[in-house]
Amino acid sequence: MSAETKPLTWRLEANQGRPLLDIRAYEALEGYAGLRKAIAMPPADVQRIVKDSNLRGRGGAGFPTGVKWSLIPMGPDSGPKYLVCNADEMEPGTFKDRMLMEKLPHQLVEAMVLSAYAIQSNKGYIFLRGEYYLAAERLNKAIDEARAANLVGKNILGSGWDFELYVHTGAGRYICGEETALINSLEGRRANPRSKPPFPQIAGLWGRPTIVNNVETLINIPAIILRGAEWFKGLSQGKSPDSGTKLYGASGLVKKPGLWELPIGSTGAEIMELAGGMKDGLTLKAWLPGGASTDFLLPEHLNLAMDYDTIMKAGSRMGTGLIMVVANNQSMLAAVRNLEQFFATESCGWCTPCRDGLPWSVKLLQALERGEGKEGDIQVLEQLTRFLGPGKTFCAHAPGAMEPLQSALKYFRAEFEAGIAAEKIAVQA
């Protein structure tokens, strides 16, 4: 219940859960102390502490942040570089970054300035989804306050280093969360993903080296600098080889949906306990561990540690770590149809398997849902999970879409089979 154990949300607890919007109130709770400490150190040392902490990307992919940073060219001749915060939170079932930005805007501003210093960037953008109006207002106010306090702008804290920070608001489309699509969108283009390599760390925004980090990832960093890599590693309390805490959450028909900061590697069962369990009269049928693009898991998987590697071994991904539950009286077929409709709508249309394959899966699922499926439809769906899988498409959108489908086919095949029309009956009629 303190700065020592909950680096993400302790200030909210100290402020009785109320948003911490004012810079003086934030500074009274160790605000900008991490930045002040970092700016007195050589940037390479700041990078090393983040690398040693083993912080992994909280946007869903789990890539080590320090490793990502280490790919950025450094030195006096390295030219313009950009730091971009991926605040385009649109993964269905995910509401953690909204809470962090609405309630702790200065914590993100501090994290951005500190991280930009570590990679010696002079300009940064918070790519915020357009629908987060309140977050935009509060972040802009926080940036203005920080600028007035010489924490953003020219010669920050007398260091001789300049950094400008802007909030860029988007205008919809899930694909903007993909980091190269995000860069295209930020440049004022259609958000089609780019070919990789080159990776953004080498050629990103306007062709320059660019780091894209998620909100929750960045927000950890001031505390890591203030308290050290070893402290951060210890936060998982032996529950996981991963470091730090995680904002876990639950939605669906649970008694108390919400968000909780817990040691990373806490179990699904612990999250469900905080959520008060399923609503009265319902039992758990299946759950998505961290967004629409993760494989379904079963109740028996609730005892697994919610960390990147454990959930991967169970055949899914931790993703964003906010679980969604399907109740015993809810249809898996309808849930999967809803998921694939989402992915089909949000496909950017750039590559054929995704543009054509996803609507095809929706048509098959709708037919099954109406009980009008044909023999072979399930086999076509299985084929699609391979044809739209990893390595077959331009980006991770379609492979992500196939995760809930393939796992639902694996665990709940009978529900799909029940959607095949009984042809003999049709003939007799």
Binding site: P92, H168, S251, N338
Partner: protein, 173 residues
């Protein structure tokens, strides 16, 4: 009689509609351009500025924005048509966006959507006859602990019960 000298600020579209950016809008676009190393990056900002004035982005504004940013109007329209929060046709005074993603699907979206369609007498993508409301779908609003959820203009509401719809709509005249 001599013909008037063409005003370079006035854009005439192929359909013959003319459009001139309001001074305040032009200034706001030019201000947004300074945030970026390339003016094109202000495309979305510019479209939002024009949309804030009209509720949508008329054809003529597309080329007018392109002229300010120094890019072809076709590029501006490419952006305008890609993003679902930019409207290229008129909408009602208030836009209701119902989240139809999985968390809301699991907490009652289907029933809520049916109730909204019935209450407003329109389908998704349509505007009420009095021009008051447009009903649109939207993907996950990041308010999943309060599903089913929706956005009216810039306000997020949730969880929304069917019995609350009338009172909710009364807030938007």
């Amino acid at each position: 009689m001599s013909t008037a000298k063409p005003n370079p600020k006035v854009i005439v579209t192929t359909r013959g509609e003319s459009y001139e950016l309001a001074t305040a809008d032009r200034e706001a676009i030019e201000h947004a351009m300074h945030h970026y190393d390339d003016a094109r990056a202000a495309s979305i900002d510019a479209l939002k500025i024009v949309q804030a004035r009209h509720g949508w982005v008329p054809d003529g504004a597309i080329s007018a924005i392109g002229a300010v940013l120094g890019i072809p109007g076709s590029d501006v329209d490419g952006v305008a048509t890609f993003y679902n929060r930019i409207y290229r046709q008129p909408v009602g005074r208030h836009v209701i966006s119902l989240c139809d993603s999985i968390a809301c699907h699991l907490t009652g979206y289907d029933e809520l959507a049916a109730a909204f369609r019935q209450k407003l007498g329109i389908q998704f993508g349509q505007t009420t006859a009095d021009g008051r409301f447009t009903l649109l779908p939207i993907c996950c609003l990041g308010n999943c602990d309060k599903g089913p959820t929706l956005l009216i203009d810039e306000d997020t509401h949730g969880p929304v019960e069917i019995s609350q719809i009338s009172a909710l709509l009364e807030q938007y005249t």
